[in-house]
Symmetry: C2
Subunit: 146 residues, 2 copies
DNA sequence: CTTGAACCTATAGTTGCTAGAGACACTAGG
DNA sequence: CCTAGTGTCTCTAGCAACTATAGGTTCAAG
């Protein structure tokens, strides 16, 4: 049995975050010691590592909740898990495309700032004029960059 | 003079967001009509477009606050603006690198899910085992991961 | 003149944590 | 056995950057 500190260290998750995951029901309520301290099994560590890894991959806690509930019923088709991962992949690809465009624009901005005065600064100028922008900045559903 | 709705529409910013920007001091307090409704000049529209564009580029509101205060004093060196833009570029490049790694891993996950049962699902499996992960997940600041 | 859209304020909710206060529990050394 | 120093407990509040809701007012069109 692990205390919350060891658990967090082994999973790479901070202690308050573990308690937070319990609070929102992503982790089950932990068993307690005689002195009311949380105790975790190896299984709990695996579950937490799963969460940690999925977070690293950019899954939302909601998606992770779904994946966890799927993995709790291992006899069903994995189509649902696949769908979640595919959606996540699409998300990542779109973020990637946007970021590459942004990188190009930022590079243009930075290159053109040659130590002049602000009045001539491309950084300010480019930011002030959307029409100079090569990127497509339409936001179909009011969503922003993560 | 524009009402808040027209302003928002022209800048591509939602009305509550405009009010929020005023509240946190990113936009100056707007003039009001006889009936207490906000009225905006062309200049205010430009300022808002600047903010919108910078947000699209991933600048934080704090960075934007700095850029705006710079652009209010156009006689100074643009070194500061350049520094902000360069920091932003570095941010974007690092996010880009991470996202590309994530994309590779997600693709691996998705490809390997061939319509089997969850028990064999790579999506779940890969998420459960950090060691299968190609990505570098080290945490630079004194975090001990076993 | 009336309807309905757009506006107003104020407050609370969102996501995914993080930080603080003040109190209790456990462990190692003397 | 005592004490010091961690680690843990609960609870509350805060962060970014909005978004949503409630309940009211103003404005422009028909």
């Amino acid at each position: 049995m692990l205390t919350i500190g060891k658990l967090g260290a082994q999973a790479g998750v901070k202690v308050p975050t573990v308690r937070y995951y319990e609070q929102i029901g992503l982790l089950p309520k932990a068993d307690r010691s005689a002195g009311n301290q949380r105790l975790y099994s190896r299984k709990a560590l695996e579950r937490l590592a799963f969460i940690r890894h999925a977070r690293d991959l950019g899954f939302t806690l909601e998606a992770i909740r779904d994946l966890l509930s799927l993995s709790d019923r291992p006899d069903q088709s994995c189509a649902a898990a696949d769908a979640i991962a595919r959606a996540q992949l699409a998300e990542v690809e779109s973020r990637l495309a946007r970021l590459m465009a942004l990188k190009a624009e930022l590079e243009r901005m930075v290159v053109q700032c040659a130590g002049g005065r602000i009045a001539d600064c491309r950084v300010i100028e480019v930011l002030g004029d959307h029409s100079l922008c090569a990127t497509d900045h339409r936001h179909p559903e009011g969503e922003h960059i993560a």
